[in-house]
Symmetry: none
């Protein structure tokens, strides 16, 4: 249910009342409990669908693709309430009982693929550890998202991510790659 995503995204898991979800969706309680066995189950469904309707940018893997992906996600977080809910619920794991480190690992895995490609294309500096870097990118994205949400309701999230990359790139990319990378100041798509 799409209404659930909105409410979870706005109020968090425990702050989201089922009734609010129901009446925003225009459904009755029984109807929902036919499809989802519990609130937790509903949240799980939202999480699953949250990653579903993302259209990650195409393009050959590598550092540039990784950057493009994060900027795309940043922009997506501004309007896509499913994705917002996914992120919110991921952050709150533990309150919700939905102990699934999955989300973060999944993204780290995705990023790692790009980083490995980057390595094999010689884009990365030798001292960079791909696994660590993937974790750092996930962590940085998460943290900047939280801050941006609180301070500007995510309006400046793409800019923040862009700044993050501009800061990080010199430490990870070889000079020639670095010169070729495109990191729009405002996070707009290339």
């Amino acid at each position: 249910l799409h209404a659930a995503a909105e409410v979870f995204g706005e109020c968090g898991y425990s702050g989201a009342g089922i009734n609010r979800i129901l009446q925003r969706a225009g459904v009755t309680a029984g109807a929902m409990y036919f499809h989802f066995s519990s609130k937790e189950d509903l949240a799980r469904a939202v999480i699953c669908d949250s990653a579903a309707d993302l259209n990650l940018p195409e393009g050959g893997p590598g550092l540039q693709h990784l950057i493009d992906v994060t900027l795309y996600l940043a922009r997506e977080l501004q309007h896509n309430s499913f994705f917002q809910a996914g992120v919110q619920l991921a952050i709150e794991q533990g309150e919700s009982g939905l102990r699934e480190y999955g989300s973060y690992e999944w993204w780290a895995e995705r990023y790692l693929e790009d980083l490995r490609a980057a390595r094999s294309q010689g884009e990365l500096l030798p001292e960079v550890q791909e696994e660590e870097l993937a974790q750092i990118v996930v962590g940085g994205f998460t943290g900047l998202q939280v801050m941006s949400k609180i301070s500007t309701d995510r309006a400046d999230l793409p800019q923040r991510i862009a700044a993050f990359w501009r800061c990080l790139v010199p430490a990870v990319a070889v000079p020639e790659t670095r010169a070729a990378l495109v990191i729009p100041r405002d996070g707009a798509p290339r």
Copy 2:
């Protein structure tokens, strides 16, 4: 109340039932409502005290001090339940009604001081923007804390922060400073 910090830290704001706080603290409702006029007020008090009992590492300002501070905070987050609660409530701002971007800004400000000192001591590379970097450090710390909490209950948080710095330093510090910086792999105090 110290019990409140624990419960807020564990369950978040809306997940924390006042009754649980009360019975963990061994006091009654009336007693609490004499000192704090509402749950929100209680949370505010926790936030305020959360930053109070930190003993930030001494030492001349600069990049090394900034690193030491973040590592200290990482270690502190492992046992200090007041600080845990402060961070948790900061992340949840909005659900709680406690709209105070304050916490993040306050830390960014602290970090900025060190960065400015670092700049004037010639520790920073010319292309680094201090304000942006301060935000990124706060964001990175926040995000890594969230991930670490979920995956290992913060057991590996200092290591993650250390890795974060090892990754970041080449991009911000001039080579001689970089060589002199101490970033213990395990995040232990110097």
Copy 3:
């Protein structure tokens, strides 16, 4: 709910605890809050139903009918807990938040119809103002009801109303009507 009427009638609005209503009705809180969204809403429902199950005496309109109605209401107030509750809540309007002067106006309107009929049948003395008299009858009834409830738990209410009329009639009715009017001393139905 019929239990609500009893408790409201006995204790007034703010004195009536929802729990008392619930356990007297033998239902649970959730059950009630499914049907009524709040205590106020419940009270409103009681008020509405209070006037519903009254069987006002039939008969051609006029002074005699008006008297019969008030005596009937007096007798009804002795056992009909719905009506009791309606009157009680009407008196307390303002504490309850149910600002609806409606009840009193409604009755004054009813009475006025009879008085207008009486006028057109030549039963009223020329100096009598129907509107004012209607208000006075409502007020007198209300006040006597309050007194009777306190002093004798409404046991003597019909008698008091009868006395009220015996006192009032000479001032409002023309002599021949006056002679024909029946006002049983004990307020019993004709």
Copy 4:
């Protein structure tokens, strides 16, 4: 305490929270409970003082005096919060546990004195029963007060009482007295 009178008058007995009284009075709980042993006791004290600071109109007893008294009381009810509280608490007897029919009886007694004087001065029609009439006056006053409070916050109470008397007088007073009686339309003092 004068603040208690206001709050009781506004909210009724059970609707009046002690804390509200206390903070309006600018006192603390302990201070109050030294002087009054309970809320009920406080209410009793308010009732007692409520009749204290009334300056009933002087003048020889009789029908005119009775009328003057009721009009004076009507005007007093508009601003004198002690008296308002007294009336309010009198109406609510039973909720409050303060079962003292006293108030009403006391007033009926006062009125009866005037009526007896009126009788001995030949002002009353022969069929009038003084005791009954006294009760009716008390009841009428009470009821009209309730209605006026709800509809106009007592702004038109004196007018209503005046109308009450204009209606009642023909039924109780002998013609010559009736002609001499002064009942200002707006209830203003003579």
